[in-house]
């Protein structure tokens, strides 16, 4: 294994790397940049919601069209260009070979290609802000006919006004992003199945690897229908076909099915890796095994299968046959079972522990608690009759931010702060890390608790100004929106603390040893940072991933690689 590698040049390391760790770093830095873009978009529409009559600083007047564009692109950027690249691509790349004791991915060139396609997709998406008519503005779900075409006097025109190239580039960017993640996912699964070192059975793998691989599999199996839908959409827009145009015999609801058949599994593609990180981090700082490892793996596989038969709960009020809603309600509510098992397994992992509240541990525990709020409020929405009231309401917005924000950001911050010493060979600043954690928790809840209340009150989402109504335009609701916006400004400012800590520690943090936490999984057997090729010898695995405080053992940790 990789001992004869020469030291890579700057270009080889940062521009066209083949090393999985450097490709992971490319993903991570690109996603951090895109998170800044997504945060800025949130700033624009939240300012409008709080102070509808004032121009937004740095942007100017925000009308209905620009507002829709900001909302659409915020969702698109955060899901496809922040959550997925951070949780799956960056940490999948970094962790998979290290955790299975391999020197690299099975297909390093395919890996490099998947990042390059991803980068191209990000450039195209950013470019779409600057084309005539502006970026896509028909919501991240891109429902037709708003986002598709109509035929006026024989000419193809857009229902959504002048948004033509913005929408086309949106489709192109999303399609390329999917291609990139399909390539990446195939690489991840191949690597995990074929390159595990001696003695590492599937049930000796850390939970992160189970979760990233199940997520990759679910993604690969669900993305096909949406790509078909995207091609049909592009053809409707550019050629004038009528797949989704009722005037030509097409059906707009068909697209919703294609979208959500992918869209619901996609939610789990994002959630699972984060839960995997929590499940690997909590044992390290509770100094005890993860509770119910095998049961959780089985229930996660069950969840992956279940995610393919629940999609129409997004369409209860969208004109599907009402009899179908009864079926989809029952399957949807069943989701509470595997998630209940996972969350309680994480919580029970604390029981009887010797808990150290380090920064990654704080992120993991609070991430579980925040995700719990998102999970339970999903029941209100997955129940078809109760969804009649909540459909397109701010309750929905608060609900999915309580699932996706803990997954994306709590998950990513837990992972970054935990693996930072391994990745960069240096420690982050603990004080700045705790400050960042505390302020993020406060401001995150400060944004979305008010939105639960405005939702219960009846405020609809995607409305740029409530003045046209009476009941949706009360002073109390307005005050809640002001609170949410102020907390968003606080949340955005808080992230500067993280960026400062990240880049300063990368450059000059205190040096880390190979295994600073006394952890047990294989990545801690490599040097910090691991050299090209990762390990200086072939490792053999003797036990499961979370063997802490084993009775009779001398130390309170029993590494996988030491007999």
């Amino acid at each position: 294994m990789g001992s004869s590698h020469h030291e890579p040049t700057f270009t080889e390391k940062y521009i066209f790397p083949l090393d999985h760790k450097n490709i992971g770093l490319q993903y991570l830095l690109t996603a951090m940049f895109m998170a800044c873009v997504g945060g800025f978009l949130a700033y624009v529409f939240r300012m409008k919601l709080a102070w509808a009559d004032a121009p937004v600083p740095l942007v100017g007047d925000v009308d209905g069209g620009l507002y829709n564009s900001m909302v659409t692109m915020h969702g698109t950027v955060m899901i496809f260009w922040v959550a997925m690249p951070t949780l799956i691509a960056a940490f999948g790349n970094f962790l998979i070979p290290l955790m299975i004791g391999a020197d690299d991915m099975a297909f390093p060139r395919l890996n490099r290609l998947s990042y390059q396609i991803f980068l191209l997709s990000a450039i195209i998406l950013i470019a779409s802000f600057f084309v005539p008519g502006g970026s896509a503005s028909g919501a991240w779900t891109f429902y037709p006919p708003l986002n598709s075409s109509k035929i006026v006097d024989g000419v193809v025109e857009m229902h959504n006004g002048g948004v033509y190239w913005g929408g086309n580039l949106w489709i192109l960017a999303v399609a390329l992003e999917f291609a990139s993640f399909l390539l990446g996912g195939i690489n991840f699964m191949t690597t995990t199945l074929n390159l595990r070192t001696k003695g590492m059975g599937l049930f000796q793998m850390p939970m992160s690897l189970w979760m990233i691989n199940i997520a990759s599999l679910v993604f690969a199996l669900s993305v096909g229908p949406l790509v078909a839908g995207a091609i049909m959409m592009l053809s409707d827009r550019m050629v004038g076909t009528g797949f989704f145009n009722p005037e030509l015999g097409g059906d707009p609801v068909l697209f919703q099915h294609l979208f959500w058949f992918f869209g619901h599994p996609e939610v789990y593609v994002v959630l699972l890796p984060a839960l995997g990180f929590f499940a690997d981090i909590i044992p390290v700082f509770a100094r005890k095994p993860f509770f119910g490892y095998r049961i959780v793996v089985y229930f996660t596989l069950f969840l992956g299968a279940l995610s393919f038969i629940v999609w129409a709960h997004h369409q209860f009020q969208a004109g599907i046959d009402p009899r179908m809603a009864n079926y989809f309600t029952i399957t949807t509510i069943i989701i509470s079972i595997p998630f209940g098992v996972m969350l309680f397994a994480l919580i029970l992992s604390l029981y009887g522990g010797s808990i150290r509240f380090t920064v990654p541990m704080l992120w993991a525990i609070s991430g579980v608690a925040e995700f719990l709020v998102g999970g339970i409020t999903g029941i209100h929405l997955g129940t078809s009759a109760s969804d009649i009231y909540f459909h397109d309401n701010y309750f929905v917005v608060a609900h999915f931010h309580y699932t996706l924000f803990p997954a994306t950001f709590f998950g990513a911050f837990a992972a970054i702060t935990f693996w930072f010493p391994k990745w960069f060979g240096r420690h982050l600043n603990e004080g700045l890390g705790k400050l960042h954690w505390m302020l993020t928790v406060v401001f995150f809840n400060g944004i979305f608790i008010p939105l639960f209340i405005t939702g219960l009150n009846g405020q609809h989402r995607r409305i740029y100004d409530y003045k046209a109504w009476d009941e949706m335009n009360t002073p109390a609701q307005h005050n809640l929106n002001v609170i949410a916006t102020i907390c968003l400004l606080g949340l955005l400012a808080t992230q500067l603390v993280f960026l400062l800590n990240f880049f300063r520690s990368w450059a000059s943090g205190p040096k880390a040893t190979a295994n600073p936490y006394n952890a047990t999984t294989l990545e801690w057997a490599a040097a910090s940072p691991p050299p090209h090729g990762n390990f200086d010898k072939v490792l053999t695995v003797y036990r499961g991933p979370h063997e802490y405080s084993v009775p009779g053992a001398k130390e309170d940790f029993s590494p996988q690689w030491i007999q």
């Binding site: 209905g64 009722p246 707009p252 490892y293 049961i295 522990g353 459909h391 009941e471 405080s549």
Partner: protein, 247 residues
């Protein structure tokens, strides 16, 4: 938290009961889980000389704890399902045969309501044929119904997806171009309530307001008499409306 739902002025009262039931059930789970998270964090904070217990969740008893949680969640799921299905069927599938018929035409970015009355069809929309505001509040067209009689609505869209939503009645139904959907409600309390589009429909989505006006039966008759205009039976063509410049 519950006091924040708007008053329910229709007959779908059980829906509030269902939402409340779900909130209580998930609220209990939330409290139990949070109590465990906070409790364990305090109880098992690292102390010098105290080693963690080796609990891997792999003995029969420990697996039993997780399976017990599975059984409990399944039971609560089932309790929610058996309340949900009959209610859903009543609201969405059992459309009454008798009632006041109204046509709802949605288009970017306004509403045209056609009321079938004994004096003929009465249409309300943002502007009348002369381009003046016609039966609208702040540019929002009004849908007129009466207490004591069920209202059966049929939904059509002229262009893109819209959604017919009246919070005070707990009514939501998307409107799909090329299809006609029917639904129903019965209002019990006279007054004026918000009516909104709840599916993003373009840059004017936030201007696509309407009002529901619930009359007593007597007031309703007076309104019909005052309107008294009989329009053609076919759905109104709808005036081409410039984007509402109210803002």
């Amino acid at each position: 938290m519950w006091g924040t739902l708007p008053e329910n002025v229709g007959t779908f009262q059980d829906l509030d009961g269902l939402m409340e039931f779900i909130t209580v059930v998930v609220g209990l789970w939330f409290l139990a889980a949070m109590a465990m998270i906070i409790g364990f964090s305090l109880m098992f904070k690292a102390k010098p000389g105290v080693k963690a217990q080796y609990i891997a969740g792999n003995t029969g008893k420990q697996v039993g704890v997780l399976l017990g949680i599975v059984a409990a969640i399944t039971m609560f799921d089932f309790m929610i399902d058996i309340r949900n299905v009959p209610l859903w069927n009543t609201i969405k599938m059992q459309i009454p045969a008798e009632g006041d018929q109204v046509g709802v035409l949605a288009k970017q970015w306004t509403w045209v309501f056609t009321h079938k009355t004994k004096a003929g069809n009465v249409t309300t929309e943002m502007f009348n044929d002369a381009g003046e505001y016609s039966d609208s509040a702040n540019g929002a067209p009004k849908l007129h119904v009466r207490t004591g009689t069920k209202t059966i609505y049929s939904l059509n869209s002229e262009d893109v997806l819209h959604s017919f939503k009246i919070n005070a009645l707990r009514v939501t139904m998307d409107i799909i171009p090329g299809r006609t959907y029917k639904g129903w409600f019965e209002a019990v309390k006279p007054g004026t309530y918000d009516l909104a589009c709840a599916e993003i429909c373009g840059r004017g989505h936030g201007d696509m307001a309407g009002r529901l006006v619930v009359h007593t039966p007597d007031d309703y008759d007076k309104w019909v008499k005052a309107k008294g205009v009989t329009k053609a039976d076919s759905a109104p063509k709808g005036v081409v409306v410039a984007h509402n410049a109210a803002h």
